[in-house]
Symmetry: C2
């Protein structure tokens, strides 16, 4: 009455075949949706699989097809809202497409750490790679390792030998800066991300584009590390000089730290200083004052990255999806320049 007691080994395609009274190959065909199977045969096989609680063996399949059905994600700064949201979306999308995802975090941004993480992914036999750790070095290392795995980066790297997801960070940064200019600010400081980050560079470029276009001067951007703590530190330094009326931070965390420092220094945001961030993390609208920032669709980015990579794996032509342009969200942290603070 009860199904055969398992004898240690999991049921294989052959066990199913025996029970359904067909060859193992027929079972394989059912498994892979081969068209030339009589309905009645297919049903018998399916019943047998059900009865045995058969589960295909991924390793055996991978061995013979030499396809792992796994994609790798190289990421940095996980733990932060943006990257981890994108990763979650990547996993969801991959799962839906029948793929597995393996993530490797960059412990540090040293070449050694990058090589380590990449080796781990290569060892894992990933079919493709999504590079979410958009540091310039990563791509150098990637090129240096002579890895022939197709990969997709979340930022344009200037290299054209792979596909990049088009998120127009430059436009976002430019919009943020232009917003401040439109409010009458002439002295705008940029608190940028780390030097070797492509995202940081793009946002800086957008900032500078807007500044130059408006024919304004600016200090050299301060290079930060994305953290709120650094923002606080930078804010403390900045509030000693006060030769600016607005700051554009390359991400929200730094912007929030910045506002904290200004508050401590007795400066009012936005009356004395306007602050604009980037990312629109969930707390951005709940801090005091609510943060003006540039909204990014992290989940959408993750989804598209998967779509792009899968289409490449399938050898499909590049489907030029339209660029994602992040949108400025104006909240309370930015306001018109206050007369008393204009330095002319």
């Amino acid at each position: 009455m009860s199904p055969e007691p398992q004898k240690g080994r999991a049921p294989s395609i052959r066990d199913v075949a025996r029970l359904a009274d067909v060859s193992h190959q027929t079972v394989s065909r059912v498994l892979n949706g081969h068209p030339s199977i009589r309905d009645e045969t297919r049903q018998r096989v399916l019943d047998a699989m059900e009865a045995l609680k058969y589960r295909p063996n991924r390793a055996a399949r991978a061995l013979v097809t030499s396809r792992s059905r796994t994609i790798g994600v190289l990421s940095a700064t996980t733990g932060e809202y943006g990257p981890s949201s994108s990763i979650a979306a990547i996993e969801d999308a991959a799962r839906e497409a029948g793929y597995f995802v393996n993530t490797a975090n960059l412990a540090a941004s040293t070449p050694a750490a990058i090589v380590d993480a990449l080796k781990h992914l290569v060892l894992q036999d990933v079919e493709g790679l999504i590079v979410m750790a958009p540091q310039v070095r990563v791509f150098d290392v990637l090129a240096g390792m002579a890895i022939d795995i197709p990969y997709v980066s979340l930022q344009s790297t200037g290299q054209s030998d792979h596909r990049a997801l088009a998120v127009d960070q430059i436009a976002g940064a430019r919009a943020a800066t232009q917003h401040l200019i439109d409010l009458g600010h002439h002295e705008i400081v940029h608190l940028a991300g780390p030097q070797d980050w492509i995202e940081a560079e793009a946002r800086m470029r957008g900032f500078l584009d807007a500044i130059i276009e408006a024919d304004l001067r600016t200090h050299p951007p301060i290079l930060g590390d994305w953290t709120a703590d650094f923002g606080y530190y930078a804010g403390r330094e900045l509030s000693r000089y006060r030769d600016f009326s607005a700051v554009f931070a390359a991400n929200d965390l730094m912007a929030i730290g910045l506002m904290h420092a200004f508050r401590d220094a007795g400066l009012d945001v936005p009356r004395d200083v306007s602050v604009v961030g980037f990312d629109d993390i969930p707390v951005a609208q709940h801090v005091s004052p609510p943060l003006t920032t540039v909204h990014q669709e992290f989940r959408e980015v993750g989804r598209r990255a998967v779509a792009l990579l899968l289409s490449e794996l399938r050898g499909e032509p590049v489907s030029q999806s339209e660029e994602i342009v992040p949108a400025l969200v104006v909240r309370g942290s930015s306001g018109p320049v206050h007369a008393a603070l204009v330095h002319y």
Copy 2:
């Protein structure tokens, strides 16, 4: 001069064997650190591997050993600081131990979604599971699916058939509540997490324990969803009644939303209302006022989870590591009860 051009197939253990003039089994032994290999032979094999750029085939190995060297993580609310930090730590620790990590996110907390995610992980042939989505239902489903995979949960579930990481959420919540009581607060409201979350329940229990011990009354806790937006919503409702002088929120995001609402309602934190959170996310100390909260070591939790799971996979006895007790961090959002607001 140049190494053999690859003929489509990647070099196998046999190619290495041929080049090193040994049997393929000897190569296998070198690969697995077998002791009985002459040094000279080992070196010849290693040289051959180097020359051919040999990489072991994971699928073949998994097929013959029936071990995938992969652990699965079931998670929810990724994108938030805590879970994603733990996941990152899990990946680091697993990588160090030579394991791969596969994560499945819970799209919703419905049984169907849970089954989906678990199926995905089982399909992936994970050797063990770390359950980071500490919802009661998950364990019911897990039990219902009759999965024989060893798993580790990040919270005590009351079920004793598996290992749980000991993070004393109850003690943390109790400390937070006691802190408010010590400040003279008698009317404390608890903004809890979703009902079916084990963590939420533990924090609520800690809260109630402290309340009962101090012989205070309290409203039934408000059940939230962990988000800052919900905190804001709850804060708006709460500020209509004002029959309390302090709120203990089950996580920082809700606490921050709460403070936002109080600010909007003209209430001053901490003069009119004290607010305490839980988690100590990076922005907690930078919001206004800096948030008093309970600090959690998310990375440490992740590391320990891996250690625990691996020791179980190896069949080692349960190494009773000491409990992690999260620590109260007092900042500006909590203060002594203000005389004018005491309702007696």
